[in-house]
């Protein structure tokens, strides 16, 4: 019971942190811009939805490995990730450039 409860709590935390980033920080949504931020090494954290196509997922992970940027696999599909970002569209991958007031960068990496 305890492990599942902890997992649920951490997804909630991610959602809250994402909300804060959307409000106060800089981010980009979408595959093309994510690759752009990876190439220029401007991204600090990449978040991928769980139904991201495996080829695209491995490509983004490879770029992130080269750029030494951490990747977080969101527990939810692109619809959920879009909702977590407060958008009314689907988001498969997003890149956080500047976290603003959020501590999402410091508390989430280690997931690469």
């Amino acid at each position: 019971m305890a492990p599942t409860k902890k997992a649920k709590k951490s997804t909630e935390n991610i959602n809250n942190k994402l909300q804060l980033v959307m409000k106060s920080g800089k981010y980009t949504l979408g595959y093309k811009t994510v690759l752009k931020t990876l190439r220029s090494s401007k991204g600090k954290l990449i978040i991928l939805a769980n139904n991201c196509p495996p080829l695209r997922k491995s490509e983004i992970e490879y770029y992130a490995m080269l750029a030494k940027i951490s990747v977080h696999h969101f527990h939810g599909n692109n619809v959920d990730l879009g909702t977590a970002c407060g958008k009314y569209y689907r988001v498969c991958c997003l890149s956080i450039i500047d976290p603003g007031d959020s501590d999402i960068i410091s508390t989430t990496p280690g997931t690469q």
Partner: protein
């Protein structure tokens, strides 16, 4: 947060006539130029990979099989797939030509010839074997 599209990085071209070919970044134009207002780089790549050399090949045949055809191209970053490999071949005289190395066709040919010589001698040393094998797809 490490920039990885630097001179010496081995990349694979994704678009164009040379799609699927391996190349090495010679010079990077991060912010673009007037004619190309996007991030791009000059790459030197293998138009024709060297053929497989076997033990019973004569010296003449080995020399013929180890030949390499090189190309130089200005490529948009979005049309490249970077790899974890690097190729520290000093293509300085190709790089110093820079944007005007590809301006006129005879300068281009001269630059391609010098790049070809460098790549061939690197192939003959047997290092960077990954770079000189064709990508199968």
């Amino acid at each position: 947060m490490v920039k990885f599209l630097k001179p010496g990085k081995a990349v694979i071209l994704l678009q164009g006539r040379y799609a699927g070919r391996k190349a090495v970044i010679v010079r990077v134009f991060e912010e673009g130029t007037r004619d190309r207002p996007y991030g791009h780089c000059l790459v030197a790549g293998l138009a024709k990979y060297p053929k497989k050399v076997i033990r019973k090949d004569s010296a003449k045949k080995t020399a013929k099989k180890s030949r390499v055809k090189c190309f130089l191209k200005l490529v948009n970053f979005t049309h490249l797939m970077p790899t974890r490999y690097t190729l520290d071949v000093d293509l300085k005289d190709v790089a110093s030509g820079g944007p005007d190395a590809l301006a006129s066709s005879d300068k281009k040919v001269a630059a391609a010839k010098s790049a070809k010589a460098r790549l061939e001698e690197r192939f003959k040393t047997g290092k960077n074997r990954w770079f000189f094998t064709k990508l199968r797809f």
